[in-house]
């Protein structure tokens, strides 16, 4: 089943509804100022994927347990499935698509490749967004500190050793 089919199976709100209220939402996504007129119930995740065609951010559990949908809002990592797009009004949002500079991958993206930090890849965008945010957070130096800080991102393939190695490789270069 392709990811597209998966998405249409789980629309944001399955019941038909009449929205006589819409939200006019201005967002800065990966440096681009955008405007959306949407139902206020639309999550940031669905706004990114369905309205802005930024499908790099993945929908995993869609209720805050898996971390696949992690993006940065106002410089902090959040779960886009538990953030309404309207609540991000005026904010600067960074998704996985916003990390690389033209052909040059973000060091964390490169480190995930170099350290085998993924297998199927479905959780990877969220893992990398968390890992990039971690670099700015008060996270201790040890592997265990990284594991704790990354505990909101679940990897069903079990690529955790590679993920920790990737994060530590980037942090090592920064020290």
């Amino acid at each position: 089943m392709s990811p597209t089919e998966l998405d249409t199976q789980a629309p944001p709100f399955a019941e038909p509804h009449v929205a006589d209220q819409t939200a006019d939402v201005a967002l800065i996504v990966n440096g681009r100022a955008l405007r959306l007129v949407i139902d206020p119930r639309v999550t940031l995740l669905d706004a990114l994927r369905e309205h802005l065609q930024l499908t790099g951010t993945k929908k995993g559990c869609d209720h805050g347990q898996c971390g696949a949908c992690t993006v940065h809002v106002g410089g902090r990592r959040v779960l886009s499935c538990l953030t309404l797009a309207a609540a991000a009004q005026g904010q600067s949002i960074t998704t996985i698509e916003g990390l690389a500079e033209s052909d040059r991958l973000h060091p964390m993206q490169q480190a995930f490749i170099d350290c085998d930090g993924f297998q199927c890849g479905y959780c990877t965008a969220g893992q990398i967004m968390s890992a990039v945010a971690l670099l700015q957070e008060p996270c201790g130096p040890d592997d265990d500190d990284v594991r704790e800080s990354m505990s909101g991102n679940i990897c069903r393939c079990g690529a955790y050793p590679g993920i920790v190695a990737a994060v530590q490789a980037v942090r090592g270069r920064r020290r």
Binding site: G64, R76, R77, E137, G152
Partner: protein, 292 residues
Amino acid sequence: MVAIRYETPRSVSEAVRLMAADPGARVLAGGTDLLVQFRTGVRQPSAFVDIKRIPELMSIAIDAHGLRLGAATPAAVIGEHAELRRLWPGLAESVRLIGSTQIQGRGSVGGNLCNASPAADTTCALIVNRAECVIAGPNGERTVPVEAFSIAPGRTVLQPGELLVAIRVPRPAARTSDAYLRLIPRTEMDIAVAGAAASVTLDAAGLCTTARVAIGAVAPTALRVPAAEQALVGSRLDEASLKRAADAASAAARPIDDKRGTTAYRRTVAGVLTRRAAAIAAARAREQGSHP
């Protein structure tokens, strides 16, 4: 599904007006509980009242009297606040245990209280620190101690039109510290099987003069345990008094059996966590005494 409004008040009075005008409206802070409930059909609000654009609800202020924590301030901001972590290390610990770092990026202490889960991580730590809820409503402001804020799982004392605007915590006395511990089957991202917080004050000779103990996830609401506090006061917080406090906490617990743990297990764990939390709070208070 009917349409829903999205309101973005800029002041507490505007938020109160919106809440009072529509009994079906729900306050939206971080949304990390509300959106899950909304999308599983547990709650069907007629409007979201987004309070994160009200500056006083998004602030941390510490002065000679203590802490005033804006109800919608993200947990991540609280957990990184050095002065707050120094004065209330146990409270800071409890905030940093909520969900994941991403959940903490939006979730708030006010939301943790208003969601009124018996297992909420911040409740016990707030109770032992004598925290009060500042509630705004159509008839003005009132305060309620945190231990009286939740009245049942998912229910609080908030009346129609009211919202939680801040949590106030008095500044701790000299040689006072706190701790919070919880047990979960994973090490992260789970809901407490049981939790316990303690705050102790020592005199210059190291005797415990005041103690507060609260336990979570072992009753419909978090419980203060006066018998455990009495076991600690007057002692040097030695093993014998810690054991008595643990026994008192186990006796006060009235947990349910569910998939997270049996009644007997939760009762035992509540005691163990009480003993350990009191020991950690005592060590922290002694540490303060040695570096006045």
